[in-house]
């Protein structure tokens, strides 16, 4: 339910961000309904990373549209090319008098914490991390919950009872994805083997391809990747196998946004589903809260399955059939109801598995 509309929305926003520079000059004066302004700083992925930077920007654009604001005045972004750019970018936006500044990605946590301390009168928010501070809102996502659902989907789809997980770096954040995924799969079928491998980087498609090649060679038929551009290699390998043997059932589960497009090969598609994080919604929401004077400073907002903060895409109707969607929805409800506590770390995962 959560994926369908998302796709078209994504494309829409895409083409909009495509004409950034023009809209900047052509859209002259639209009426100023508010003088509240909001901006964001990307991490090194860039504003068009087809991932949460892009999603966040789409959210901010939607928010601007909602209030008839002009890009550059009412809302804006600053792109970081290097880790050392975060702080000047945040600073720049604060000094341009934006009332609300988002840092997109856990990499900005230090910069946010620093700058927020320096400018107590501005509202800050960080996505995907928790930073303490009265003027900071922490926006987190229940990645483990979404990944759990991905695990459920994979377990229901696999023919070989062997599935794989490819992570970017072996860090707490990605461990969260891994733990949720493994828990979800094993919950459905404790005999399923989940092979886990970390590429060590988010920008190594060659390693991603090597890992995927090895996994698919070893009878694994579904790979869930949480590895950014490294995942491009996973898609490349899956599509290659599909191209050689159209009959072979082989799947990739995408991450962060709907990666349906990435899976297209001829008239087939290897993307089973994607674990979507609605960064856009969260950014839009928090901006509105701040504008309305209800800025959740010092709070940690977790966007989970409950409020559609995370979820699975159902774009690939041929593959993501009802007999998968159904159990996914069931487990989703159980998570919402608190019937399952999805593990977030390796330790919690071990505990969880033992309890099965």
């Amino acid at each position: 339910a959560c994926g369908g509309g998302d796709d078209s929305e994504g494309e829409n926003a895409d083409s909009e961000s495509g004409s950034d520079s023009e809209s900047n000059e052509t859209t002259e004066a639209s009426e100023e309904s508010t003088d509240f302004s909001s901006a964001m700083v990307t991490d090194v992925g860039g504003v068009d990373d087809k991932s949460f930077n892009q999603s966040a920007w789409e959210g901010l654009q939607a928010w601007g549209e909602e209030h008839g604001l002009e890009e550059g005045e009412g809302f804006d972004y600053a792109q970081s090319n290097d880790d050392s750019d975060y702080q000047p970018n945040l600073n720049r936006l604060v000094r341009e008098d934006f009332n609300m500044v988002f840092g997109i990605g856990y990499k900005l946590e230090d910069a946010i914490s620093e700058v927020a301390g320096q400018y107590p009168d501005t509202n800050f928010a960080i996505v995907d991390s928790v930073v303490e501070g009265d003027n900071i809102a922490s926006i987190t996502f229940a990645d483990h919950e979404g990944s759990f659902l991905a695990g459920v989907a994979a377990a229901n789809k696999t023919n070989t009872d062997k599935i794989g997980f490819v992570g970017g770096t072996d860090s707490d954040l990605i461990n969260k994805f891994e733990s949720g995924f493994v828990a979800g799969a094993k919950t459905v079928n404790p005999d399923i083997e989940v092979e886990v491998q970390y590429a060590g980087a988010f920008d190594a498609p060659d390693d991603g391809k090597l890992i995927a090649s090895n996994m698919y060679n070893n009878d694994i038929d579904i790979i869930y990747h949480a590895s950014g551009a490294t995942g491009n290699g996973v898609f490349a390998q899956a599509k290659d196998i599909k191209n050689n043997d159209a009959e072979r059932e082989i799947w990739v589960i995408g991450v962060d946004r709907d990666q349906y497009e990435e899976g297209a090969i001829g008239d087939q598609n290897v993307t089973l589903t994607s674990m979507i994080k609605r960064v856009d919604n969260s950014v839009q929401q928090v901006s509105n809260m701040a504008m309305d004077g209800e800025f959740p400073g010092g709070e940690v907002l977790e966007f989970g399955v409950e409020d559609e903060g995370v979820g699975l895409a159902d774009t690939n109707e041929e593959a993501y059939t009802d007999d998968i969607a159904q159990p996914v929805d069931e487990w989703k409800q159980k998570i919402i109801d608190g019937d399952v506590e999805v593990p977030q770390t390796h330790d919690e995962l071990d505990e969880y598995l033992n309890s099965l």
């Binding site: 961000s17 072996d170 551009a229 491009n232 490349a236």
Partner: protein, 319 residues
């Protein structure tokens, strides 16, 4: 996992990983054999990847399944033209060749991403729909064991790389063109007094390196990355340069070095399934290709003599 299985899971990936490095390293061999140092291989690959992807996206409808092949040819041509900048600087303007190579690296990346933003309005292109696919080589793939390891699930571009390496060897060592090219890199004045145009040979060599670097970059993009962004080519060009030196400026040596890198890389990633390597911390496997290379050079490969006039601009009439 049996040994044959192991080889089968390591060698085909090693081949696809090596192929772009082989192409590019061959380019490096031509350029440096003619006396022009080419630190700019990285940039030439970036240009190749950029053009390969853009062309592929633009003409996928026109060329259908042939698109990747036409794309890499287009990438080779455009990169060859792009490499003219290095040629003009290094040959005609007597530039410090290292410097001009560094400029090539900056320029290619800057230009690639700049144009991507201009044309696509974002920092990375879409994924191509017409990529290279692996295939089984008819007949050869039927051979027991060997066929499985070397001829099943292979990119034709990998074989193209190996064939090109052999062609490059033949050209450099068996033809008048090769003899002249090498003489220009060893002793340009001697070549000049024999009536060989040093400038012309060096231009040709650098342009060849551009074409081959373009091939390398586009093959990488169209087999592995499938789109173009600032992070598509990250260090493959430098690895190719290392392969040139590791391979002692010999086409087959460079190919061997590139294959070695591919093999080591493949092993480090796939080691998860290899009993002995399973428990080795991943970082050791990650750095293994690089450390092994250093050890190999220090241990038994040893001193490699660069072409004698490598890096020296030729100025007619000086001694």
């Amino acid at each position: 996992m049996g040994f044959v299985d192991l080889l089968q899971s390591i060698i085909p990936p090693a081949l696809f990983f090596s192929a772009p490095l082989i192409f590019t390293a061959l380019g490096g061999v031509f350029s440096e054999r003619s006396g022009v140092i080419n630190i700019g291989l990285e940039g030439l690959m970036v240009m190749g990847a950029f053009v390969g992807i853009v062309f592929n996206l633009a003409f996928a409808d026109v060329f259908g399944a042939w698109t990747p092949w036409v794309s890499i040819i287009a990438a080779a041509i455009i990169s060859a033209i792009f490499s003219l900048i290095h040629a003009v600087a290094a040959v005609s303007f007597r530039a410090d060749q290292v410097v001009s190579g560094v400029a090539i690296n900056f320029l290619a990346l800057g230009l690639g991403v700049f144009l991507t933003k201009q044309w696509y309005g974002k920092g990375q292109t879409d994924m191509v729909s017409q990529q290279f696919f692996t295939r089984d080589i008819p007949l050869l793939s039927e051979i027991p064991i060997i066929g499985e390891i070397f001829f099943q699930g292979i990119y034709l571009s990998s074989y193209l790389a190996i064939v090109l390496a052999i062609v490059a060897w033949y050209v450099l060592y068996k033809t008048p063109f090769g003899l002249r090219l090498r003489s220009v890199g060893e002793h340009p004045m001697a070549a000049d007094t024999n009536g060989i145009s040093v400038y012309k040979m060096r231009y040709i060599a650098v342009i060849l390196s551009g074409a081959l670097g373009g091939l390398g970059g586009s093959v990488f993009a169209l087999t592995i990355a499938l789109n173009f962004s600032h992070a598509t080519i990250v260090g493959q060009g430098f690895m190719s340069l290392a392969a040139v030196i590791f391979g002692k400026w010999h086409p087959l040596g460079a190919m061997g070095a590139a294959l070695f890198f591919g093999f080591a890389q493949s092993l480090s990633v796939i080691s998860g399934g290899v009993p002995v390597l399973e428990d080795v911390p991943q970082v050791f496997l990650l750095i293994a290709p690089y450390v092994l290379t250093i050890l190999a050079l220090a241990g038994f490969i040893g001193r490699a003599e660069a072409p004698r006039a490598n890096g020296e601009p030729y100025i007619k009439g000086t001694r």
